[in-house]
């Protein structure tokens, strides 16, 4: 970018205009270059390793080659240290944090419509796929990495069935390179029994009973029944929406249902099960803590709402959003944290949501699981991601301190599939540029 400034001194006005235009493009599109494939073995020694499965190794030895972990154990182990050794004594190692149900890479600037690709027209559109619109060069995406968030599920939003999500890692040239799991699941927004008052039409703000709830749930049932029937037909005529539901019925894809109220959750799960849905994940679950037995007996994992939320009802405990994940963990449910309702840039605060639950008494390692091992399990990528175990992907980071606490979250290294990814961003570059301005660098 500096070179462009230099070019500006040229007197050829035409070029100036052109180059300024280029400069603008570069400025807004600049992204860190993806790291090359891991070629050399890497050893991290001495760090407190948080494995993401609830275990911690105080002074650890971690080695990886060709993108895969080859050793995770105690640093006292007397085995050969392979390749480049990073002394991480006093530091902490974590599996890369995973953000479910986000529109990262689908929205660049919330207020600029031209940069938004998250919500397509239509009520039942499972055939709409997030992956192909995912912008691997998003400046917002790269800003996740310095905080340890390295993987996300990218999901469309809006409508009743918003579309099909995919899971990506955050260091890629394009969406194909980014994909970890293509079309992993379909996202359904369950209707609400209450709806917000249409204040612009003279109704009171606030919630009132949704008279259309029955009709809306019936529409879901009808769609599922049709999609299931379609799957059995031999007709050659393609119905893309019905066709996109195939994986839901054979269990190869998950159904992510967004619901918060007690009744909504019960209705959603009963209805979906009765209509042939094999793998259901609950997203949201504000009232999930009231019905843990129901969720357990139906084997439903919960991607619970993040802690930076207000109590929904005035009489709720002020700290209910803070302790909600803990209540679900304590009830024996499979839980991970998501912030689908938050703006994308907030997703870099994922570690601090988990920290906030620790504030409410949750064990720190369990809190780490809510961003790593549990998330990977729920999303179905635990064969490779989510924990630091032999044979799994070397997707991890090193932090100077406790990564769940703001002051401790200082990354020195991050690896995705063994590739050492840049921790620079549009933001760090501006920071350094202006430090230079003031400090004469």
């Amino acid at each position: 970018m500096r070179s462009i400034t230099k070019f500006k001194t040229t007197k050829m006005k035409k070029y100036i205009t052109l180059l300024i235009a280029c400069g603008l493009v570069l400025q807004t599109m600049a992204q860190q270059t993806p790291a090359p494939k891991q070629t050399e073995a890497i050893t991290i020694e001495g760090a407190t390793a948080h494995l993401g499965n609830g275990e911690v190794i105080e002074s650890s030895l971690i080695m990886f080659e060709d993108g895969k972990l080859t050793f995770v154990g105690d640093s006292k182990m007397k085995i050969a240290r392979k390749g480049k050794v990073i002394d991480a004594t006093g530091k902490h190692v974590y599996p890369g944090f995973i953000a479910p149900a986000k529109t990262l890479g689908l929205i660049e600037i919330d207020a600029v419509r031209a940069t938004k690709d998250e919500d397509e027209l239509g009520d039942f559109i499972p055939h709409v796929r997030s992956l192909i619109a995912y912008n691997a060069e998003s400046k917002v995406v790269e800003s996740m990495r310095p905080n340890g968030v390295l993987i996300a599920q990218i999901a469309p939003t809006g409508g009743r069935i918003s579309g099909t999500s995919s899971i990506v890692q955050f260091d890629a040239w394009n969406w194909e390179d980014a994909a970890i799991k293509v079309d992993d699941g379909v996202h359904l927004n369950w209707p609400n029994t209450f709806r917000q008052g249409r204040w612009w039409a003279g109704e009171e703000r606030g919630y009132q009973p949704n008279k259309d709830y029955g009709e809306q749930t019936q529409a879901v049932v009808t769609f599922f029944k049709n999609a299931a029937a379609y799957g059995k037909s031999t007709s050659k005529e393609v119905n893309p929406a019905f066709a996109a539901m195939k994986g839901i019925f054979d269990g190869s894809q998950k159904l992510y249902v967004h619901a918060d109220g007690e009744k909504e959750i019960i209705d959603a799960i009963n209805t979906l099960k009765a209509n042939g849905t094999k793998e259901i994940v609950l997203i949201g679950g504000y009232h999930a803590y009231k019905i843990p037995e129901f969720l357990k007996s139906n084997n439903i994992p919960v991607l619970v709402q993040y802690t930076h939320n207000l109590p929904v009802y005035d009489d709720d405990d002020y700290d209910l959003p803070y302790k909600l994940p803990k209540l679900l963990v304590d009830a024996g449910l499979m839980v991970a944290i998501q912030n689908s309702d938050a703006e994308n840039f907030q997703t870099r605060n994922l570690p601090f949501y988990a920290g906030q639950v620790v504030q409410q008494g949750l064990d720190k390692e369990v809190a780490v699981q809510l961003l790593t091992g549990n998330t990977a399990k729920i999303l179905g990528i635990d064969d490779l991601y989510g924990t630091l175990e032999n044979g799994k992907s070397a997707t991890l980071f090193i932090s100077e301190g406790d990564a769940l606490d703001m002051a401790g979250n200082q990354l020195t290294h991050a690896f995705i599939d063994g590739r050492s990814v840049s921790l620079e961003t549009h933001q760090t570059e501006l920071w350094k540029r202006y430090l230079g301005k003031y400090e004469g660098e």
Partner: protein
Amino acid sequence: MKKLIFALCLLWCSTILTAQEYFPENAGVKVNNNNYTAFTNAKIYVTPTQIIEKGTLLIQHGKIVSASSTVSIPKNSIIIDLKGKSIYPSFIDVYSKFGVEQPKKKPGSGRSAEYAPSRDGYYWNDHIMPENKAIAQFKYDDKEAKVLREAGFGVVNSHIQDGIARGTGVLIALNGEGTDANRILDDKSAQYFSLDKSIAKGQSYPSSLMGALALLRQMYSDADWYSKGNSTTTDLSLEALNANKNLVQIFEAKDKGNDLRADKIGDANGIQYTILGGGNEFERIEEIKATNAKFIIPINFPDAYDISNPYAVGYVSLQDMRFWNQAPTNPKVLADNGIQFSLTTYDLKSPSNFKEKLMKAIEYGLPKTKALEALTTVPAQILGKSNQIGSLKTGAYANFLITSGDIFDSSTTLFENWVQGSKSVINSIDTKDIRGDYNLNVQGKMYAMSIMGEVSKPSIEVKQDTMKLTSKIAYDNNWLTMSFATDKGEHTYRMTGATTEGSDNLSGLLVLPNGTETKFTATKSKAFEEKEGKDDKAKDAPKVMPVMYPNVGYGFASKPKSETVLFKNATVWTSEEAGILKNTDVLIKNGKIAKIGTNLSAGGAKVVDATGKHLTAGIIDEHSHIAALAVNESGHNSTAEVKMEDVVDPEHMGIYHSLAGGVTSLQLLHGSANPIGGRSAILKLKWGEEADGLIYDNSPKFIKFALGENVKQSNWGSFSRFPQTRMGVEQLYMNYFQRAKEYDTKKKNGEPYRYDEEMEVLAEILNGERFISCHSYVQSEINMMMKVAEHFGFRINTFTHILEGYKVADKMAEHGAGAGTFSDWWAYKYEVNDAIPYNAAIMQKQGVVTAINSDDREMIRRLNQEAAKTIKYGGMTELEAWKMVTINPAKLLHLDDRVGSIKEGKDADVVLWSGSPLSVYSKAERTMIEGTTYFDLETDKQNREKIKKERNELVTMMLKEKSGGKKTQGPKQSVKRDFTCESL
């Protein structure tokens, strides 16, 4: 001949009351009726407190001649014996729209807001319409008058209920037989105001409550200026306002807080408004009393919530449940506090619901005398018409009610409502009471028949042995028509007959199922008895929940008090040069930090063992929009005249939630809808105090300015308001400040000038008396703003948001501006593309006083964590980071001599944390303001249990209400709006 005249008079006496003596008569001979009507042997309520047990009411020419026990009845009197009956003055409703055509809602005018007025020759704002006259829109509504008379009303005061200044009202007697010449008692009965814009006008200013208040202030000031002949043009609105100055002034406020707001406007202009309340006055009765205003009180008490579905219960807040329970006590509480009030049908679906609600108010403790006063003498007094209406004193209009007994008893029948001597029969006074048990003989077969209910509208039950039969009854003019059916409805027996003088038995025509006509007889076996004894009712006095401070879920039972507290052995984050002190004691006394040291002796102080805990100054948020009823006055591009202090909401849950996050003070800022926004309110979060109790004493003066996308209206498709570009923003400031300078010069030189609140405020800025907190994002506009300020010789105090501050931090430091910024927000709009989380650290290092702020109802709850992010981003030390939410914002707000650090002599606004305040793992355990604990974990825990218990109790009461067949309303959650800068 005499006889004939007398007969004519008799015929006419009820139709023509006061002949219009100067009107020619061509339909016959012209006559006068000078007869009297005497109502004898009645219990007469001359006034609610002057009662004649057995007296005579004498009327003539539609007016009261006398009412006493010793009236000598003139010979030319018609005498009506009312033995056992009562006479009351008929009711008056001060707040009605009877007969006055109300404007219709203006259809939407598309996307672009209207800024200009639609009228010439009137005030610049369309919502100011003091020139409106209800009389011009008046047309007597016979049907509605009948409904009102049935509810007991004789006189109503009506007006055009639209706009902020609404013009004059009209006082109408509900005389069904006279003409408007009789009915119109006053065609300019009062002058009306409200806080609501006209629905018929599209002008966008004022778009907020604070704008409406500012507009009223300016209107009065302009009227005064106009009355002194200063205007070169004609303004018919101001002329009307001035002309109506001496009328009764009535203000529609409709809420306890707005009652106080209206009263303040009145006080500032030497006006004592009569205020239409909202029914929630009991929640702040002391402040309401202090207004010294008379009130008009609606009694549309809410129905119970239908929460038979347990999942729906959660949506209804304790606050709303409690209001259902407490609202019927409002009239009682007003009466208990000696506040003068009248009752109104306003807000009721129909006046026919009035009695039911009134009875409820009485059941909840409103004394009957006060109820009667509120319907007669007080409204008369409010209207300044005590001699004409509201009592049965000599000379008053003959407006009265004849009842079977105590008018506030549910079994009492209202027989007649006389207005100006003209009779309306509501229920026939001669109706015989046929209620009781009978043996009904139908062709030799005996049935048990019971007639019950109201005298004039009885109900019936017919039994064959023990089996109830389908049966019907109608009773009119002492004729009754009954039927019943046997054999599962196969055979119907129909009967009709008139009651007989002197006999309790009934008899008449019987039509058999086969059509044969014969006779029936019914012999009375038992007189009718009211089922519920009055004593039982008294025992069943409804349970009313206590009012809390504030009256919401987490309110206090009584306002909390300041204490003397010694924190022992804490880690103290001073936010001063002393840094972080370990093992230190802090003594809080008289609301101040009295002493900091080691081994301090407790004296009488309450000792808090703070070993292992951290004590800090309370967090200060330089930029917040919680606890507000409005945030943007977007009707103009400059609104310095509006004040956030006018719209503080002390009941907002955000206050409690923020206290739980260790926040003690905040600047409640106007939003960013316009380049020159409104004035700030700087608050201490004293949960439980009323609005003014939250505002700092001797508060520093601040105002919100805003730059960039919001003021250009870039993100909501509005294209008609200047400015649309950053270039225009600069010119707007230059223009306003130049005008303010010229205004101020005129004023200082003693030249005549028109008081302009907006210019006054801008002049304060020029004179260094008011400080700017300027919403800003990109470097170009930040730089521009400083240059504008420098041109006019003042300084921008604070740039808020200031996400590109790091690009011009050197310039800001040189200018002397401070910064309040987000820790890590960006990417939400184009102008924050270059926002970086290192911003705060860079600015701080360049010598800019920097604070981390929230602008967010959720984030304010964890500003300690946001401060900690400056360690991660930019390497601040712990101490520097902590200052960003304590002493730095205190400095920005010019409050650092009072709050923001732990220093002897400062306000005891402190927070005890479970660990380091910068750690995500710590929580605020106790939050104090001036030595008073407004939040602590233990009380919070207790409150959770109390809330559960009280909710359960109220739910049980509501379920009972429903199963008892009472009306209910659907469950709902009434939410307060959570504002950000951009909320419109």
